[in-house]
Amino acid sequence: MNKILLIIKREYLTKVRKKTFIISTLLFPLLYLGLIFGIGYLGEKSKKNLTVAVVDSSGYFDAGRIARANGKDSSSVLVLTNMKVDSLKENLGATSFDAFVVIPAIDDWKNGLRNIPLQADKTLGMETAMPVQSKLNNIWGEIKNEKLGISDSTINQLESSQVTIKPVNINDENADSKIAGTIGYVAGFLIYFILLIYGSQVMMGVMEEKTNRIAEVIVSSVKPFQLMLGKILGIGLVALTQFFLWIAFIFIVYNVTKASGAGDSVSGMVGGVQKVFSSINVPLVLFCFVFYFLGGFFFYSSLYAAIGSAVNEDMREAQSLSFPVTMLVIFSIALMSMAMNDPTGPIAVWGSIIPFSSPIVMMARIPYGVPGTVPWWHLGLSMALLIAGFVFTTWFAGKIYRTGILMYGKKPTWKELIKWAFRKN
């Protein structure tokens, strides 16, 4: 036991003192925030507000209506013009217009206006073109109302009286499915990243010990199983440390922003966080996160350790052998996104109970509420099966590891690995 502690300590200290750990701990939240804001910013920037010339042959699209429509929303600008279609076509680049529409003469307003070409000197995307359509519809709506003799007050009544719905869970009145969905999504993805990144760290660590031949020195002092377990636990602690540092980081940022006081965006954010706290069971979610993170980590990293012990220094061997294991993790993420759409459906339920996918899928379900969405027995069964699952994979991996760590030469197949696991000493 004492020796396992020594191994854990070495593993933990060497990893935590590495520059890559410090950098990745600091950089990941920044990258994450950068990604979220960056995408929003870029999306905002790439959206273009079109200025569109309107050539009206119908007489309906007059300057007054166009000015009113421009006043209502600014996502595109319509300008009534007297220019001829031919000269517009030829000189569009020289004008201040991005595109133009020609409104034909209208025989019967009831037929509407269909497939009016929005002509431009380049191909316009749907997202850019849609505001023009909705603006023209705005004007068209005004024309229709006039034709039908509907007054402004009637229009207001029509618009303000509507039916909307809001999903409410009768077991959990506070649950907000939007917040729960976001939390679940983030938690599921975080576990996914941790499994892949730290799982492969375990694999690389084992490969390093094997190719350095230090493994043979160490297994003459401790049992191979102790060496493997020490490595897994040590790296697991590193991952946990990183996670808690992030939580602390969020906490500090939150309190600093809160203390910095006024400002609409600050109070909006503080209010948002308070809303999150009131709508989900934070201690339970946090506890489950740590549980599923550790359970999933043990489940997968022992398999990665077994693979690391079986291959030689060649990275490609390791990749091809670890492919099925990595596929399981990726498959779990696919299950999770299906479960997000229907957190009580059969895929969500089974995905969150079967050990290989439960760490990711269950984490996506839990924020929706326990026992509202996830009955206690689901959670209990899922946890028990995950424990049984990682006890099994650790045992299985230990058997492979014991043989693999001292075996040099040809890369074994999965069939051979399974044979190693089930033969007697």
């Binding site: 020796k3 020594l6 070495r10 060497t14 230090i214 493994a215 043979e216 020195v217 003459s220 002092s221």
Partner: protein, 311 residues
């Protein structure tokens, strides 16, 4: 009472009888040479003694009791042929870690490491990394990590490979000192001249079986071919049929002769004196271990063939 006794040890792998019924015993304080060609089963044998492998059959008796890997490996030091250290770890920390894994307390280990580092002029290495060391320096470090916890049994697999003569001698001296203080050393190698120089007892294994066992002296006696080197001014012109020897060679004013069966060295001297030869020297030529090794191993395929093992 022997420190280590192997009784009918067997270890079969899927395609090889790696160790096939080997028994031997090693006295405390002796330097024991474990010899054999590549793939003879030496590493497998050593791995069973270090508790890495369990034997399929047979028993290991360590220090009078049945070998119990969990408790006994703290009293064994093993330096494998393929050296292994963490490349990126600081040398002081690494040595401390390996010593603690062998069961030493932190303070005890620190004290001992400092002693050894001073003895081997390695004090300035403490905060360096293994990757900064040359191959020979790594070798010295590996030796220190092997003997640091004062094991009763030390197993060294090719300890001198990659060392210059000065450092070889340094380690050789340490091995002698350890043996004198009662430590038993198992020394595995193919370098016969080192075995002749260092070992008191040897075992030769080939194809998983023991084919030779004894002290270096005994082995040489057993394999002697009754060859003598005689330094004379002149051999008798013609040897008649009843001379007790035949000449097999001549080098540097000395003749190499083989004494015929039934005759003794004294008969040779007598014969030569009677013939009036003047004798300067008369030496027995014993075979070198190298010759014996080659003679015994020759004829068997140089590489072990794979075979089906039924077990």
């Amino acid at each position: 009472m022997p420190l280590l006794e192997l009784q009918n040890l067997k270890k079969y792998f899927a395609t090889q009888k790696a160790v096939d019924d080997i028994s031997l015993s090693i006295e405390p304080g002796s330097i024991f040479g474990l010899l054999g060609p590549n793939g003879a089963g030496k590493t497998t044998l050593i791995r069973m003694i270090t508790g890495i492998f369990y034997p399929d059959e047979g028993q290991i008796i360590f220090d009078g009791k049945k070998f119990d890997p969990v408790n006994d490996i703290g009293r064994i030091g093993y330096m494998p042929e393929e050296r292994g250290l963490y490349k990126k770890m600081k040398i002081g920390e690494q040595t401390l870690y390996l010593a603690q894994l062998k069961g030493l307390t932190r303070s005890d280990a620190t004290k001992k490491i400092k002693e050894w580092f001073i003895r081997f002029e390695m004090e300035s290495w403490w905060n360096k990394k293994v990757e900064d060391l040359s191959k020979g320096m790594q070798q010295k470090l590996q030796f220190v990590t092997t003997v640091l916890h004062e094991p009763k049994l030390i197993i060294l697999d090719e300890p001198f490979s990659g060392l210059d003569p000065v450092n070889s001698n340094l380690i050789k001296e340490e091995i002698y000192k350890l043996a004198q203080s009662g430590t038993t050393v198992i020394f595995s190698t193919h370098r016969m001249e080192q075995v002749e120089e260092i070992c008191s007892q040897i075992v030769l294994v080939n194809k998983g079986q023991k084919i030779l066992d004894g002290t270096v002296k005994e082995v040489k006696q057993n394999f002697k071919e009754n060859l003598f080197s005689i330094g004379v001014n002149q051999l008798p012109g013609s040897l008649n049929g009843n001379s007790p020897f035949e000449v097999v060679g001549n080098k540097e004013q000395a003749f190499v002769v083989r004494i015929k069966a039934g005759s003794k060295p004294n008969d040779v001297l007598q014969y030569l004196l009677q013939q009036g030869s003047e004798i300067h020297s008369f030496n027995e030529i014993l075979p070198s271990l190298n010759d014996i090794f080659i003679k015994l191993v020759e004829g068997t395929p140089t590489a072990r063939q794979f075979q089906q093992v039924n077990n």
